[in-house]
């Protein structure tokens, strides 16, 4: 049973460039959430996708956008990169509605993509 996968593992970009990160959820999951983790900090929620739509969004600018495909995989796009966008980007998958149903199923995190902006 494949867990959450992300690609690429590492990425180096320069300021002003654009980047696309990819995530495939755990088998059986239909919801993908993206988090940004700066060095020495806890992860911060960017947004969540379900049924190919953005369902919730954190406090991130419009430069951060996403997409979910029919097979539940997802992309995170960041435009006009800033130095402050350097971070570990984590994808988490879950089953939509699991929280309301009080399921014990947690959000499972992928290995992350380390983005460095120079």
């Amino acid at each position: 049973d494949a867990g959450v996968t992300q690609s690429p593992t590492h990425l180096i970009k320069t300021r002003g460039q654009q980047v696309t990160l990819r995530c495939s959820p755990k088998s059986g999951h239909d919801t993908v959430s993206w988090y940004q983790q700066a060095l020495g900090q806890g992860p911060q929620f960017i947004f969540q996708y379900y049924e190919e739509e953005e369902r919730q969004r954190g406090n991130f600018p419009d430069r951060f956008s996403g997409h979910q495909f029919p097979n539940y995989s997802s992309e995170l796009n960041v435009n006009a990169l800033l130095l402050g966008d350097s971070a570990l980007y984590l994808c988490a998958s879950s089953l939509f509605g699991g929280a309301l149903l009080r399921l014990a199923d947690t959000q499972y995190f992928g290995p992350g993509t380390r983005l460095t902006v120079l």
């Binding site: 919801t31 959430s33 988090y35 900090q41 806890g42 992860p43 911060q44 929620f45 969540q48 919730q56 954190g58 984590l90 988490a92 879950s94 939509f96 699991g98 929280a99 309301l100 009080r102 014990a104 199923d105 947690t106 959000q107 499972y108 995190f109 992928g110 290995p111 992350g112 380390r114």
Partner: protein
């Protein structure tokens, strides 16, 4: 907006000793998660606490939840070096939300 505070942020302890990490949160939350993160790695799920008074144990780690006090604890018993990692607690900002708000993490170092 939910705020999650962990303390201590840094913890250095000797092997064989016991200690507790505290997680306070600011508003009512119906779930509390604990994650472990090794340097340069992703988050590994440790516990999901779903109700007041919930207690879960795995090996040398035990987590509990007191929703009235808005407090969760992660207790470490007879620490070993392999437990060295950063531990995060996280909760949803409102009932039913699947967004998680994380604390800043507690970096635990267990010395021989």
């Amino acid at each position: 907006e939910l705020k999650v505070e962990q303390n201590p942020l840094f913890l250095s302890m000797q092997e064989g000793k016991n200690y507790t990490i505290y997680c306070n949160y600011s508003t009512t939350s119906d779930r509390l998660y604990w994650y472990r993160q090794d340097p340069g790695k992703s988050l590994e799920s440790l516990f999901v606490l779903l109700s007041n008074g919930a207690v879960k144990q795995e090996g040398r780690l035990m987590a509990s939840l007191d929703t009235k006090a808005r407090l969760s604890t992660l207790h470490i018993t007879a620490a070993v070096h392999d437990l060295s990692a950063t531990y995060f607690c996280a909760g949803p900002p409102q009932g039913g939300s699947e967004k998680l708000v994380f604390g800043k993490g507690t970096k635990l170092t267990v010395n021989p």
